[in-house]
Symmetry: C2
Subunit: 268 residues, 2 copies
């Protein structure tokens, strides 16, 4: 069984706090695990060069998770070795008034990767079936409609050449408490803090339920959800780097064939 | 039966040259018909003001048709009275290399109307199941996949508040000949001419078949196709203006309620 398969969500998966601390892949030797992740990140960087040169496939990485779950840290730890020209990160915040004037997929579709590109979504259209559900901004019927629209949208992206990998970074409620307290204790980290984080934290259970439903409703062979225990940053980065590297290797990327005419050319 | 229903495509509709000259709505009195169209265009302009003020619904008009079928003329004749701020026309040309690097719906989704807006597509994503089919750039399986993707996409737009009206401006092969010759005879009209038009004309029958299939596969209550006989410009504009006006009226647009507090305000 490949590494990806171990983390794939399935109908039996229940998102609960005990999951977050499971060291499913880390060896326990932190230094060794970090080195492995770094090597994987370097391989991902090399594979990105190939992806870019081949100019055919597109890779979309979606990162979702509660506040402090480590989405930014994942970008740095897993994709930090990539040539910045070849990978783009898009952070989706609360929608602007122009964005609200359109359907919720509008701003997302604009940002999907083109041929040869890797795009990382820090939050995504999944917020539109998470925060909206937790706060009762949409009802069950609308939520189901959106699940279907998201499935259609991602299927179209897949059919038109986009490889999609979706990661839910799962932390425990206790770990979030520790991370929020750490941010509050350090004035240099205050910029990362938002009082709204404390409001959302009150809906912890509601979010876990909303994630559970959304992930199961939108998991697909061509757009799989991976459930990443993320209380340990080392575990988190190692797992995600492994899955991304495994996927890129499986794509059998190749440099385009050289032009035989070129060898006859003389540069004078 | 409303005017729209008369022009709606149905399974029995066969797209053929005899259709193009049928005067289904024009009275034959050209001057009177033009005056009617002008009045309708003014009503459309008034209704657009309401649409804009209500800031809720979105209106997407799609114009498709062979070269010289009068897409530009329709924009001018039917939407020419609208405040340019309230209606936007987007002409889709052969895709750029950046556009080709993405799925074919990418550039289209970017341009869909926001709340309170009217957007007119001069050509659209339908080119991706027309010219591509006629020239065998895509096979039948891919074409069917795209029909399904287009249906999903338009359903999502509709579910998120977009009213969609799709018009196929149908001219006869003979009328196109006359219009192309007119362009060639007048140097001032040469800018409208492209030698590629003559190449595409050779595939006339292929286009009619591709249109027939695409229109039937993508017609839906929430995204209906109207087949507009367009050999007569008067007939064409009158028909389209009537359908658009009828639709806008049916939307029962209203100015948002006034704020009772405002009447108490004093401006000093």
């Amino acid at each position: 069984m490949g590494i990806a398969a171990q983390f794939r969500i399935n109908k039996e998966t229940e998102i609960k706090d005990s999951l977050a601390s499971k060291k499913m892949i880390a060896t326990g030797d932190k230094a060794a695990d970090k080195l492995t992740t770094l090597k994987l990140a370097e391989q991902i960087s090399d594979l990105q060069n190939l992806l870019y040169a081949a100019h055919d496939a597109k890779l979309l990485i979606i990162l979702q998770g509660m506040d402090t779950s480590g989405k930014d840290g994942t970008v740095k730890g897993v994709f930090g070795q990539i040539n910045p020209l070849g990978a783009r990160t898009v952070a989706f915040k609360a929608p602007s008034s122009e964005e609200k004037n359109h359907d919720y997929l509008w701003r997302v579709h604009k940002e999907v990767p083109g041929k040869g590109e890797i795009t990382i979504f820090n939050r995504s259209h999944y917020e539109d079936v998470l925060i909206t559900v937790v706060h009762d901004w949409i009802d069950t019927a609308e939520c189901k409609r959106r699940y279907a629209q998201i499935c259609d949208f991602e299927r179209m992206l897949s059919e038109t050449g986009t490889v999609i990998l979706k990661f839910f970074l799962h932390i425990s409620k206790q770990e979030q408490k520790a991370r929020l307290e750490e941010r509050l204790a350090d004035p240099d980290k205050h910029w990362k803090f938002d009082t709204q984080d404390l409001v959302e934290r009150k809906s912890w259970d509601g979010y876990q339920k909303a994630y559970q439903r959304a992930l199961l409703a939108t998991d697909a062979e061509h757009a799989p959800w991976y459930l990443i225990p993320a209380d340990s940053k080392t575990q988190r980065n190692l797992a995600i780097a492994s899955i991304v590297q495994e996927k890129l290797v499986s794509m059998k990327l190749k440099y385009p064939p050289g032009n035989p005419e070129y060898s006859k050319l003389k540069v004078e």
